[in-house]
């Protein structure tokens, strides 16, 4: 092979790969018979060099990187071949590590990635970014031999764990290593984890805030509704009580007024006798006594008139109304208690009920008294059946039937008496049913009761469909 042939080969290699410094042909005696390159090495004897012997034996040789005459890191590649004349010869070339550098820099290593080559003794064949300069020992342990690509986590004495990928290049002394700091590698994952944590946390807080707000709002609404209900119930109870007192007062006043009127007339007559009759005249002391009686009667009259005036506020006002509607209104006041105590209240209508002309307020009081009475007689979970039907053309019948404790025969006779109560220990005034009875009478109706101890009680009310109230007479 001529020097010109070698020169062509060298320029071809440089063009294709770059980094090739020189090339030489050595015959089987170790003499360099042809050389192309920057040095004068023609005729140099390599027969005692270990690489020459190894190449002859193995067929090829790749050296570690070393500093040559030019003080540039490079390595040597030698290949044995057989020439045309049948003799063995070796083609030897020197390659600059810029080739390696170019290859490694082509790797896309994000962040703190470091790619380099070491030999099997751990000497860096190219400079590393973090683990030492060229031909220095890298500051990492040499990974154990593996026939294929492997990865492992290396730990330096100080600092983060390093994720390392490496491969032993077969037929060469080289190990290619890629090293990344675990922290950097995990960075994006950590960021993602952190972001997820933040979002989850924020969502949690938002959910809790929304739940709290909604719950507070709902509880507020329920509380307000409860307050309104309690207030309405109190007002109704108050109206009920005032109506009772009014009726009681009116009854008393009316009953007292008649004897008072008689006293008035009799005393007046006495006064007249002393005034107009000669035989009684002249006794001023007696006249003064009679005057005192008359003025006292006047005082009593003022009081009874006031009482009657009080009763007048709760007087009857007849208007057409729907009985079932009134019952439903009253039930709305006791609905909560019924729910708490699981009491079932049902309204049954047996036939088409015409409009009733009656007093709404008094009917409300009647129904509330009867329903409250039934509730007090029942255990939790009882049931109250209210039946509304018309009888004939002019009567409505209402039946309030509970499955409570019932009333004994002896008590049943006295149940409508004022101040009779079986609930002495609780808040019973003993006026509820007597007032109810009175109200039914005032509306021109009648009321009766049927009861059996342990089975339940039924109150039956019959009301005229048209206004036939007592007060008209």
């Amino acid at each position: 092979m001529s020097a010109k042939g070698l020169s062509n080969i060298l320029s071809g290699l440089r063009e294709a790969f770059g980094g090739f410094t020189d090339i030489g042909l050595i015959d089987n005696t170790g003499t360099q018979v042809a050389y192309v390159g920057p040095f004068d090495l023609q005729g140099k004897d390599y027969s005692d060099q270990p690489w020459f012997k190894e190449t002859l034996q193995q067929g090829s040789y790749i050296s570690d990187v070393f500093l040559g005459y030019r003080d540039l890191p490079h390595f040597v590649l030698a290949v044995r071949f057989t020439m045309d004349n049948g003799n063995e010869a070796i083609l030897r070339t020197t390659i600059d590590i810029s080739l390696f550098k170019n290859l490694l820099s082509g790797l896309n290593l994000s962040g703190d990635g470091d790619a380099f080559i070491v030999n099997r003794q751990g000497v860096l064949q190219v400079p590393s970014r973090y683990h030492g300069g060229v031909l220095e020992h890298m500051d990492l342990p040499i990974p154990e031999y593996a026939p294929s690509t492997r990865s492992l986590v290396l730990k330096k004495d100080s600092g983060d764990p390093l994720i390392t990928g490496y491969a032993y290049v077969e037929g060469t002394p080289f190990i290619v290593m890629i090293v990344k700091r675990q922290a950097m590698l995990m960075n994006s994952m950590h960021e993602a984890v952190e972001e997820i944590l933040w979002i989850s946390g924020l969502s949690g807080v938002v959910i809790i805030v929304v739940i709290l707000a909604v719950a507070t709002f709902m509880v507020g609404r329920i509380y307000e509704a409860e307050l309104t209900r309690v207030k309405a119930q109190r007002q109704m109870e108050h109206a009920n009580r005032m109506a009772s007192i009014g009726r009681l007062a009116a009854g008393v006043a009316h009953e007292i007024n008649n004897p008072l009127a008689i006293i008035n007339e009799k005393a007046g007559l006495l006064r007249d006798l002393f005034t107009f009759r000669e035989e009684y005249k002249g006794d001023d002391r007696l006249v003064r006594m009679v005057d005192s009686i008359i003025s006292s009667v006047e005082r009593c009259g003022t009081i009874t008139k006031r009482l009657l005036g009080f009763a007048r506020q709760v007087d009857t006002f007849m208007a057409p109304l729907n009985l079932v509607g009134v019952i439903r209104e009253v039930l709305s006041f006791v609905q909560k208690e019924a729910e708490y105590r699981s009491i079932e209240v049902q309204i049954h209508t047996e036939n088409e009920l015409p409009t009733v002309v009656s007093d709404r307020g008094k009917l409300q009081q009647i129904f509330l008294n009867l329903i409250n009475n039934a509730f007090q007689a029942m255990d939790d979970g009882g049931s109250l059946d209210i039946t509304v039907r018309s009888i004939g053309e002019d009567t409505a019948e209402l039946v309030f039937s509970d499955d409570g404790c019932g009333i004994s025969r002896e008590n049943l006779e006295r149940i409508f008496e004022p101040f009779f109560s079986t609930k002495k220990q609780t808040s019973g005034t003993g006026l509820g049913l007597s007032i109810t009875y009175g109200l039914v009478n005032e509306l021109g109706g009648e009321m009766e009761v049927v009861s059996e101890v342990g089975t339940g009680t039924t109150f039956i009310i019959r009301l005229p469909l048209k206004d036939q109230g007592k007060e008209q007479t």
Binding site: A261, E265, G268, G309
Partner: protein
């Protein structure tokens, strides 16, 4: 002046009649509606003083009956109850409505005004 007094309380109405007579008013009295109608048939009264609430025939019913026998007779109602309804009806059908116990001078005044 001749008037008719009707109230179911005999003690009241008899004493009232006597007291009115002291004051120059000739008053007949009855303690029920039927007797009162009988008296009205036989006598001519300028004014009738009626109790609103009486057993059997009420003051308002009696007034209707008397109106047929003696058209033009005037009426004063008395009541021991004084409910709103009494007041409305009494006021509508009579010139006066008085609450028991009544003051004799006030009654005389109302009777004269009637």
């Amino acid at each position: 002046m001749k008037i008719l007094l009707v109230d179911d309380e005999v003690e009241l109405i008899s004493a009232l009649a006597e007291r009115l007579s002291f004051r120059g008013i000739d008053a007949d009295w009855a303690d029920n509606g039927e007797d009162a109608i009988e008296l009205a048939r036989n006598n001519e009264y300028e004014v009738a003083v009626l109790d609103v609430k009486m057993p059997g025939m009420s003051g308002l019913e009696l007034q209707e009956r008397l109106e047929k026998i003696r058209p033009g007779m005037r009426y004063v109602f008395l009541s021991g109850h004084g409910s709103h309804q009494d007041f409305r009806e009494g006021s509508a059908k009579a010139s006066s409505y008085l609450m028991k116990p009544v003051n004799i001078d006030e009654l005389i005044e109302r009777v004269k005004q009637a």
